[in-house]
């Protein structure tokens, strides 16, 4: 008898990673906080007036870049319902859409900020936290656990402790913190990721913004599945934010929500937040398989992507 070649498989032993449809670029037209809302619809109109020319520019840039000029551009708008709850979807959303329409802007997707923390049984923020890999200062050999300040993340090494740990021991003189990737001098950044009061953890604004970027880049998976896929809304706007899906598709013809790259058009007051977001994102290890999926797809349609994640994110501060 010839030898029989046996194949044996076990589903639970294999890893499956779903793929996600991708646009070329996801443009964030705005990010609405309570203070903006309180300032009235004029503040919104002003924001959209400033954004409109940039969206047009991005569209034409991508048309040039993509073979055949078929650029897939989707737009989105984020409402903060995490740090403060204000108004209701029924009252707010139509106002936002109207203000955008005045400047010929169409918002394809609307998302809730609290969904970046947790939504539909998926704790996106935890998921990203577990994927943080600290940027190691030189001489990090793995022999000790990474130096951590619980709930903080920095881009280098903090000032060492000066007080001695031993009775009659010597105190160390103060030393400055240092950035790992410094060029001559340091720009040391230390970002608070969350704080806890009792059992309740509050994620910081930059951390949720980092989650938001990863979601838009289609780089997150939960148990191999794509978390928070956009949902079209049947019927009217709910009276409660919790009744609103995490990401709502407003335009049935819209290009996919997630994209190879992102662009955010923001007021310069968000500059420090976005520096913190980049500090976080440059220390997130995205799943290997997911990165490969995106790379294969982009290559197959002749789009060259930046190798590093943070380089796929761009901003216009106006």
């Amino acid at each position: 008898m010839t030898p029989v070649h046996a194949t044996f498989g076990e589903v639970a032993a294999e890893r499956r990673i779903a793929s996600v449809p991708l646009s070329h670029v996801s443009v964030e037209l705005g990010h609405l906080y309570m203070e903006d809302f309180e300032a009235g619809p004029d503040r919104l109109r002003e924001q959209f007036r400033r954004v409109a020319p940039w969206l047009a520019t991005v569209r034409s840039l991508w048309r040039e870049r993509v073979p055949g000029g078929r650029a897939r551009v989707s737009t989105c708008f984020l409402v903060d319902d995490y740090f403060s709850r204000f108004s209701t979807p029924a009252e707010l959303v139509p106002m936002v859409l109207e203000a955008a329409a005045e400047h010929d802007l169409s918002i394809d997707y609307l998302a809730r900020e609290s969904a970046c923390a947790q939504s539909g049984g998926v704790e996106l923020a935890r998921l990203v936290e577990d994927r943080l890999v600290d940027d190691p200062p030189p001489e990090t050999d793995g022999s000790r656990p990474p130096v951590k300040e619980t709930g903080w993340l920095c881009n280098g090494s903090r000032s060492p402790r000066t007080a001695p740990l031993q009775a009659m021991g010597k105190a160390r003189p103060w030393e400055p913190p240092a950035q790992n990737a410094k060029r001559g001098h340091s720009i040391f950044v230390d970002v608070e990721l969350w704080d806890e009061k009792g059992p309740r953890r509050t994620w910081s604004c930059p951390f949720l913004a980092a989650v938001w970027q990863l979601l838009r880049l289609g780089l997150l998976r939960s148990e191999g599945r794509v978390p928070l896929p956009p949902v079209a809304l049947d019927g009217g706007w709910p009276r409660d934010w919790d009744g609103l899906p995490a990401v709502v598709r407003l335009n049935p013809q819209a290009a996919p929500f997630s994209a190879y790259t992102t662009l955010s058009v923001l007021s310069p007051r968000f500059l420090p937040v976005e520096l913190a977001v980049r500090t976080i994102l440059s220390q997130v290890a995205v799943d290997d398989e997911v990165l490969r999926q995106v790379a294969t797809r982009s290559e197959s349609e002749g789009v060259r992507l930046e190798e590093e994640l943070v380089d796929r994110i761009s901003y216009v501060f106006v």
């Binding site: 577990d130 190691p136 050999d141 793995g142 978390p227 997130v284 990165l291 994640l309």
Partner: protein, 308 residues
């Protein structure tokens, strides 16, 4: 250039073996990532992989200073609900520049350490399996901490049936003419040099982990048999000391259970020399003979008492 890794293996700190569902919880080291479990021929659960950043000297036999930057891949495993492992490895490759790049560059190559400047694979292989100087890449420490994570799980009762040291297996894998060299150093340290045909795949890591599991089983059974002091203590006492081996170890021997077919010849060559399974069988027979003899003695003592 080459792949280097280190596996730490120990007895899971629980009174009995743990169920598959407990394995899933104990090894759930990352939100949103599931634990991979295979049930045949033995339950084997593998945690999601995590990364640790490093920027340090790599161990070189020549003691020349070779700087490497990148990430270490680590994972934990539980075999048969009883044997726990922490395992780490890196693929060492030449960097295209001789300065450190932004961190996101290294994160896009998980499990790769890039060497800045010149280095020879042979020098690194010798250095890593030799006596690495302090301050060099310490994969053992990383693996040890991952094993700690499992052992400190609140789901374990910490009432292990016997005390036994962890063992460490430090391994180097290169591409080339197939060969394998397994070396025992101190009581708890082993090294493995492996040259395999074709490029490196994670299946090589599975092979090293499988070898580490079985070497630990053999080492531990030897310790238990030695502690029993067969012949020097009364039979019943010796058998009582052998009991943990019977209850917790003897059914776990499944050599090459999770090894891909193209790598099984490596296991087979180790079976010829030194002959892991041969030694295991002889120990198992010895344990069983002791139990049988003691049972016979008990039976005849009972019969004797009955006659009187």
């Amino acid at each position: 250039m080459l792949v280097i890794g280190e596996v730490h293996t120990g007895l899971l700190q629980n009174s009995g073996e743990i169920s598959e569902s407990t394995c899933r919880q104990v090894l759930g080291l990352m939100a949103g990532e599931s634990v991979r479990v295979s049930r045949r021929p033995i339950v084997h659960a593998l945690s999601p992989e995590r990364l640790t950043g490093v920027d340090c000297a790599l161990p070189a036999a020549s003691r020349s200073r070779i700087r490497g930057v990148g990430t270490v891949v680590s994972r934990c495993a539980v075999t048969g609900g009883r044997v726990a492992q922490g395992s780490s490895y890196v693929r060492v490759v030449r960097s295209e520049t001789d300065r450190r790049l932004p961190w996101s560059h290294y994160l896009s190559r998980p499990g790769v350490v890039e060497v800045l400047g010149k280095a020879k694979a042979a020098d690194l292989a010798e250095g890593f399996t030799g006596d690495p100087a302090p301050g060099c890449l310490d994969l053992g420490a990383v693996s040890g901490r991952f094993l700690d994570l499992v052992q400190a799980s609140p789901l374990l009762d910490r009432r292990a049936p016997f005390k036994i040291p962890r063992t460490s297996l430090r391994w180097v894998a290169e591409t080339g003419e197939p060969s394998i060299r397994f070396t025992l150093h101190t009581e708890q340290e082993r090294t493995l040099r492996l040259t395999h045909p074709g490029p490196f795949t994670p299946a090589v890591v599975d092979l090293c982990e499988d070898l580490a599991t079985h070497d630990w089983l053999l080492t531990s059974l030897l310790v238990i048999v030695e502690r029993a002091r067969i012949g020097a203590t009364p039979g019943a006492q010796a058998v009582a000391r052998l009991a943990p081996a019977i209850d917790h170890l003897m059914h776990l021997w499944m050599p090459a259970a999770r090894v891909e077919e193209w790598l099984t010849p490596f296991w087979e060559s180790l079976e010829r020399r030194p002959g892991f399974t041969r030694q295991w069988r002889s120990l198992v027979d010895r344990v069983r003979d002791q139990v049988a003899m003691n049972t016979l003695a008990l039976l005849s003592a009972t019969a004797e008492a009955g006659r009187r």
